[in-house]
Point group: C3
């Protein structure tokens, strides 16, 4: 089974990045995927964002969606405004490095 840690940092590219994650999921089949949203892309995880349905689609497929607390604080986002079902980590880049150190394959989108 593949384990893939995906990094999404740019809000303007987030819709295309999510599409690529779905393509990855459909292509690899036997795969565990975690997607880390940080920098401006953290806004994708706010309730009522235009991406809310796409994010829910990821979660419903069993893909782990991660938000970076440093980015949440930096952009003054209220944690209560985040889509539920998201995993929060202190540092998105730290998460990307830790997962790789555990053998996960890295994909930057």
């Amino acid at each position: 089974m593949y384990r893939v840690i995906v990094q999404v940092k740019d809000l303007d590219k987030a819709p295309q990045s999510i599409k690529s994650v779905i393509n990855l999921y459909n292509d690899l089949k036997d795969v565990q995927i975690e997607v880390v949203f940080h920098q401006s892309a953290i806004r994708s995880l706010v309730k009522d964002s235009p991406l809310e349905n796409s994010i829910m689609d990821l979660i419903n497929k069993g893909i782990v969606v991660v938000g970076c607390m440093n980015s949440i604080n930096s952009l003054n986002i209220d944690s209560n405004s985040l889509i539920s079902g998201i995993k929060i980590v202190q540092s998105g880049v730290g998460e990307v490095v830790r997962k790789q150190s555990e053998g996960w394959i890295y994909l930057s989108l």
Copy 2:
């Protein structure tokens, strides 16, 4: 010998990305390189694109140039309009993950 799987996703950065691939090729010398074009960058692989000569230069150096079928379909590109000598895969991101799982080093450009 190094084996490097390169990912190019943005059309506006494709010229600079190709230049970096050539720099990598010249620097590492004993290297096997595969470059996956997906998302908007897939348009780099269309015949008569401004990048056709650069793509042919990669192929002539023995660098494998890969196009993503999901991106081709998504942008309604006619497969017959693609530069010949290109390897087509169903999913560009799937290819990037598979190569890494086989020990290739990853570079995102």
Copy 3:
């Protein structure tokens, strides 16, 4: 201890990328970090650039800051105008690949 090779290529994203590197440094603690600046981001390493203080902050933390000679030449930057304390390599992408081949974890920012 983690060893992380970071790649920064876009000048317009360099301030945010440096912030992410600092977050990574603070999060992982026991970590060795090398940050390669290439393509347009090489301009971050010029003296009196708006990023000079941020770059000095990285160096003062023991983070290795690397500049790509191919990018320096390509943008006609005078080597004497670079911030002192920087490590210069012929090819930034070559450095990223070599470090990974030595077991360093890759992060694209």
